[in-house]
Symmetry: C2
C-alpha cells in the first residue's frame, strides 16, 4: 500500500512516540521467530524496522546490543547475515508468551493472604497490599499464614485494587485498547497489505501490549480496578493477530526482497 497510508496505520498503533528499538526487536524475534532454528535475514529485519519507522542505523546498533546481551546470535550468509534467538533468548520469549498471547483471564482464582505482622515477609509473584496483606494467585501452604479465596463477585475496594494495578497502568491499558480498536477499524477499510507490512503491524500490536501485559500481575481480572482495560486489550489484540497472521519466515524473506525491489 502507499507508504503514507501505511505510516498512518503505524502511527495509529504506536502513537507519536516510536518504540525503543532494542525492546522492539525482542518483540520481532519473540513473535516471528521464536521456534528453534528460526532465523531472520538482515535485509528482512531492516525492511520490517524501516516499515515501523526505525532508521537502519538504529536497527544496526540495537542488533549489536542484543548480541552482546546474549538475546540473539548472527551468522554470515553470503553478503549479509541472519539473526536468531539464542537458547537463553528463546527461553525468555517463551516465558513471556503465555501472558502476552493470553486471550482470556490469566487466572481464575485469587487468594487473600495475611502474614504475621511481627515477621518480615516476601511472597514472589504476589501483590503486596499493605505490610501484611497480599493477593496471591496460589493458595499458600506455609504455616503461620492466613488465606481466604477472594470471591469473583466480591469486587475489591479501591484502596486494594489500586495496589494490584496503579492509575498509570490503567490509563495505559485504556490507551492500548483505543489504539487497537482504531487499527482494527482502519484495517477493515484498507487496501491489501504486503506480507512485510502485515508483519510490521502485527509486531507493533504485540509490542504495544507486551510491556503492559508483563507489567500487570498475573491475577484474575476481578481483582483489578475498573479502569484496567486488560480484558478489552486481550480480545482486541487477539482479533488483530488473527487479521495479521504471522507469515512463514521464508515467505517473509521473499516478500521483503520483492518489496524493496518495488
Amino acid at each position: 500500500m502507499p507508504a503514507r497510508a501505511f505510516d498512518d496505520l503505524v502511527r495509529t498503533i504506536t502513537g507519536d512516540q516510536p518504540p525503543r528499538v532494542w525492546s522492539l526487536l525482542v518483540t520481532v524475534f519473540g513473535d516471528l521467530a521464536q521456534q528453534e532454528g528460526a532465523r531472520i535475514g538482515g535485509p528482512t529485519l531492516n525492511r520490517l524496522t524501516e516499515l515501523m519507522g526505525i532508521k537502519p542505523e538504529a536497527t544496526r546498533v540495537a542488533l549489536h546490543r542484543l548480541r552482546k546481551d546474549g538475546w540473539i546470535d548472527s551468522r554470515r550468509a553470503g553478503r549479509s547475515s541472519t539473526y536468531g534467538l539464542t537458547a537463553w533468548g528463546r527461553k525468555q520469549s517463551a516465558a513471556a508468551s503465555p501472558r502476552i498471547y493470553a486471550t482470556g483471564p490469566l487466572a481464575e482464582s485469587a487468594w487473600l493472604v495475611l502474614t504475621d505482622p511481627r515477621e518480615g515477609a516476601e511472597r514472589p509473584g504476589a501483590v503486596q497490599v499493605s505490610p501484611c496483606i497480599w493477593i496471591d494467585v496460589r493458595r499458600p501452604d506455609d504455616d503461620g499464614v492466613f488465606s481466604a479465596e477472594i470471591a469473583a463477585d466480591t469486587g475489591l475496594p479501591d484502596w486494594m485494587s489500586a495496589k494490584v494495578c496503579d492509575a498509570g497502568t490503567c490509563s495505559q491499558s485504556q490507551d492500548v485498547s483505543i489504539r487497537c480498536a482504531e487499527l482494527l477499524k482502519q484495517l477493515g477499510s484498507s487496501p491489501e497489505l504486503s506480507q512485510p507490512e502485515a508483519a510490521a503491524l502485527r509486531v507493533l500490536t504485540v509490542h504495544g501490549w507486551r510491556r503492559l501485559a508483563l507489567k500487570a500481575p498475573a491475577l484474575p481480572d476481578f481483582v483489578f480496578p475498573n479502569g484496567w482495560h486488560g480484558p478489552q486489550c486481550r480480545s482486541l489484540v487477539a482479533e488483530l493477530l488473527a487479521a495479521l497472521p504471522a507469515p512463514p519466515l521464508s515467505d517473509l524473506e521473499r516478500a521483503a526482497q520483492a518489496d524493496r525491489a518495488a
Copy 2:
C-alpha cells in the same frame, strides 16, 4: 447433705476464691428469677448465699447496692422483704442469656474484614486483629471494605487467633471446664441434694462460666485458639444445669425455710 460435704462441692466449682457478691447476686436473679414478676424472699436469698459461703452481712450490702444501681427492687412482705429484677435489670439479664446458656457454637460463620488503612475504623462486635484487619460475625455491607468468609476448615494462624482470645482467657476456660467436669463427677456419687443446695450449685456453675462467656467474642469456635475450652465448657455447663434444674421459686422458698428449720 452434711454441710462439710456440701462445702466441698462448692469449693470444687468456685475454687479457693469466693465470687464477688454483687456479681453473684446478678447471676442468682438472672438464673432463678428472670421471668417477669419473679421474686425471691430475703430469707431464701440469705439461705442460698450462705450455702455459697457468703456471710449475711455481705449479702445485705450487695442487695443494697444492686437496688441503688437499679438492678433490683425490694418490697416489704410481712416481717421480711422480697426482691426482684427491675425492668432494666431483666433486660440486661435477657441480653446476656443467649451467650451464657448456649449449648452450641455462638455463630456458624465468620468474615475476615479489611478496612482502608488510611482511615480510622471502628467495628462494634468485631475482633480487631491489626489496625485494618478484623474478624466479624456479620458480612459487612459498607463501601470501601473487603470481606471474605473464613472457611471453617482453615484454622487461623496463632497470631490471629490470639487476638480472638488471649492466653489468659484460654487458661480460664480450661479451669472452668476442669471444675465443671469434676463437679459433675462428684454429683454422681453424692447423696441427694436439697433444693436450695442444688440451686446454689446451679447458680455457682452459671456464675463461673458467665464471666468467661461474656468476655469471649461471639464468633464461631473455629476462629478461637486451640487452648480455648469454650465448647467443652458449654457442654459441661449444659450437663450440670440439666442435673441441677432451676426449681420453681415457691418450692425453693418452702425448701429454704425447711432447710433453715432443720
